[in-house]
Each structure stands twice: as C-alpha cells, then as structure tokens.
Amino acid sequence: MLLSVRDLHVSYGNIHAVHGVSFEVEEGEIVTLIGANGAGKSTILNTVAGLQAPDSGAIEFKGASIAGRSAHDVVKLGLALVPEGRRIFGNLTVYENLRLAGFQLDAAELSRRIERVYGYFPRLQERRGQLGDTLSGGEQQMLAVGRALVTGGNCMLLDEPSMGLAPLLVQQIFEILAEINREGVTILLVEQNAHMALKLANRGYVLETGNIVLAGASRELAQSPDVQRAYLGG
C-alpha cells in the first residue's frame, strides 16, 4: 500500500470537517475522491500533505507514519500536492516557480526534471520567462502540475485541477495525468467534476459532509444511481 488513511478526523476550531475517513491508494493507481462543495475534500488532501494537523487518525505513506509531519518534510518523502486554486507564485516566472520546486536538487537533476516538465507541457517552455500572474488558468494548472513533478514525487495529490477550465483544456490536462501515471506516478485526484474524474480513475470514493458514503471501481460508481443523481446530473 502506497498511501493509507485510517479513521481521519480533522477540525477547524470547533467545526468538525472530516469525521473518521479511511481510504487507500495502491502503487500505480489513479484514485478519485469526489464530493460536493464543503464535503471535506481539500481538508483531507491538505492534512495528508502536512499543511494541517489531524485531530486523530493514521496516515501512512510508503509504510511510514506521516500524520502531523510538516509539509516540507512530506514533500521530500515523495508526496506532492497540487493545491486547490493552483497557488502559483504570481511574482515569479514560470522557470522560477519550477526552480523553487527543485529547491532540494542539484543542478543536473534539476534541469533533467525541468526538461521533463517541458516535455509534457511545451507551452511552459515557451513561457518560461513570463510571470505566473500573467498566465492563463490552463497554463497555471500546467505549471502547478509541473511544480509537483519537479519536487519528484512518485505520488501526486491533485485538488480540483479542472476548476475554472474549459472542457477541452480539462481533457488535455487529464490526458497528461494519465500519461504521468503510466510513467509510474500514483495519483489521488479530488474532483467535483465526477464525470471526468471517474473516466480517468481506476477506483473512487464518494465523500459527503466529512464521511465516505460509497467506494468502488470507477465504472460501478459511474453507474450507481446515487452518484448519477448527485454528481452526474442523471
């Protein structure tokens, strides 16, 4: 098991946002976590990535407990988060954003990984001198994924990468995620766009107000009447 979360509880002050969530991700899989606004998706990802401390519960990555570890340490273990809203450094150029993600790397490894990102996203190479603020939403999402690749994780968590993007662009980015996955990166994808997410993922979990209410193979979930009614407009 690459990533396993058991009985996770997280709160903000006295707002209890995640109520005992458990899920697992195996090496090489694409797993999706779908749920409506406020279901607790971002809270879960941020907690796994170390940005937030859980109240209780176990988080194991590659067999080691990472619950409560600080985010910059978790990244070094190979777990990268592409956060909600992309969070590009707008005052840094495309190249500088990638360079910063490679903070820990030596020069040779850094340029190798940045070349790899430019391979997936030639657009970023064209725009490498441009400030993050001036990129389009799609380019920012590419850069956010690119940064996660440079940190070198073999496990990538993505928080609503489709947010605010045109369907065609979402499709392009999802195709690249599939390719990244084929090259060995395990993916945990959080989405409201259940349709796209279930098409890409092997398995999925459905989250409602801090609880997992359904789990299964993507094809089964897509056909489940509950999911169709709530998330697929069916």
Partner: protein, 300 residues
C-alpha cells in the same frame, strides 16, 4: 547657483541616504516575508554599531574585520529575536506583535545602557582611513566615499541574492503566498531566519558606517534613525528592496538639501525633520503604496 556647493551637498546626501537605505532594507525584507514591522530594527542597528566598537576596542580588529564580525553577530541576534520573540506570535494579533517588537527594542536599548554606561562611545583613532581631499573645489573624505561605495555594493549583493538565488526566490515566493511554499519542499522557518539574518547584518553595516560618519554612539541612537529608515522603506514601497534603497536615498537628499538651501530662505535646521516628514506624507498621499509598491493582492 554655486555648483561646487551643490556637488558638495550631493555627496553628503548620498552618504546620509546610503545609511538610511541600509537600515530601510531590513524593515522592508521582514515586512515582505512576514507582513511584520520589526520595530526593534532601529535598535538592532544600534547593537551593530556597538558590536563594531567592541570588536575594534576589545579585540583590536581593523575596520573590515570588525565590520564582518559585527554583521555576523548582529545577524545572529536578528535570527534569535525572531525565533524567541516573534515566532511564537505568528498567529497572534497584529497588536501583540507590535507591542512585542517595541518591547524587544526597549530591552536592547536598556541592555546596552547597562552594559556600556551612559558615556557616549566612539570608534578608536585610526579605525578607518580618514583622509580628506578635494576635487575641483569639492571637499571629500575617504570615509564618505567608503560609506557610499559599501552601501551600494551591499545593496547590489542583496539584490543579486533576492533575484538570482533559490533562497531569494523562496523569499519572494513567501511574500506572495505563504501557503504553497512548504509544498515546494522549502521550510518557511529557514527562509524567515535567512531574512532576519540578512536584514540585521545590513543594519549592523549601517550602524558601523554611521558611527564612522557621525562618531558618537549611544544606546538610543537607533530610535530616530530607525524611524526615518522605516519611513524611507514605506515611501519606497514597503516589501520591495529597490524601494527601500530609493526611499533611503530620497530621504537623505531631502534632508541635506533642506538644510543646505533652507537657511537662504529663512528655514533653520530645526525645521529639517518637520519638512522631511511633511514631504514624505505628500508622497504617500499621492502614491499610497510607495514609489515601488503595488497594491497587495488581498489574501484569503
């Protein structure tokens, strides 16, 4: 107009402005990274000046060595102040941080007073080369030239660090969005410490140079100078190091030329500070974000 006199004042203005700039850089860097106004920074400048005196009197170090020792020790003092006094308050209200900063300043002033007594101190004879010379009727001293050159060298060194190195990128990244910095595998605390290290050591350089230009040191020397440098940073656009440099120089120019030409029109030098602050207020009314400032993105 007397050109020689004008050029003479130009060098005085550059000297004073460079000194303000060296201190203003620390205010602006800390604000950029933490949105915190380090009100103890003027007193850190004072400590830097005194550490220079100790290094030269007690250890017998020459100018350059004393400068380096004082910059290092003062830099570490800056890091320690952040770790001990500010870090525990990172999520506290602005007001408690401001009060803490003022308290740290008082501690430094009174600590230094207890340590050195009330007698003013100065650098020993021969600490720095004080040759005077005259070019085309303009009287210069080697001290003046050293101060101006060193301040610019330090500024461009800092600018290169901020623009070209990964450490500088991390500092700029934090000032834009703290949230995502740890996701890059970068420890925020390390970058914050680096910021205090750089800011405090530049203030120390300013302190030593100040002490060679205006050779009387007192534990309270950081108060007035600190406020002025802070205002210079705000006028330049707080958070931007080019702004701090420009704001410091501008302040030096306004001060020196107000005094130099004010007396011809009946303005005595006691009016210097009110006029300086008045002019700066006008700049801020016209450009509230300062000369280099951009309106900050509202952060969630």
């Amino acid at each position: 107009m007397d050109l020689t006199f004008f050029v003479q004042q130009l060098f005085n203005a550059l000297q004073l402005g460079s000194l303000y700039a060296l201190i203003a850089l620390g205010y602006t860097m800390v604000y950029g990274v933490l949105l915190l106004i380090n009100f103890a920074h003027g007193d850190i400048f004072m400590v830097g000046a005194f550490l220079g005196v100790f290094a030269s009197m007690v250890l017998g170090l020459p100018f350059v060595a004393a400068l380096i020792v004082s910059m290092l020790l003062t830099g570490l003092l800056g890091v320690t102040i952040e770790r001990v006094a500010y870090k525990p308050l990172r999520h506290a209200s602005r007001l408690s941080v401001v009060i803490t900063a003022l308290g740290v300043g008082l501690l430094l002033e009174n600590g230094m007073l207890a340590l050195t007594g009330a007698d003013p101190r100065s650098y020993p004879e021969g600490f720095i080369n004080t040759t005077s010379f005259s070019i085309a009727g303009v009287n210069l001293t080697s001290v003046k030239i050293i101060i101006i050159v060193l301040a610019f060298v330090l500024f461009f060194g800092l600018y290169a660090i901020v623009q070209r190195t990964k450490w500088g990128m991390a500092m700029r990244a934090i000032s834009y969005d703290k949230f995502a910095v740890p996701l890059m595998g970068v420890s925020q605390n390390q970058i914050i410490s680096l910021t205090f290290l750089l800011g405090a050591s530049l203030a120390a350089a300013g302190g030593i140079l100040w002490g060679t230009a205006f050779p009387v040191l007192s534990p309270y020397m950081g108060l007035r100078v600190g406020w002025k440098a802070f205002i210079a940073a705000v006028v330049g656009g707080i958070g931007d190091i080019r702004g701090a440099m420009l704001g410091g120089l501008l302040l030096g120019f306004i001060e020196i030329y107000t005094v130099a030409y004010g007396k011809d029109i009946g303005i005595t030098s006691t009016w210097r500070d009110p006029i300086v602050f008045g002019l700066l207020l006008i700049i801020l009314v016209v450009r509230p974000t300062g000369l280099f400032g951009v309106a900050r993105r509202q952060k969630v």
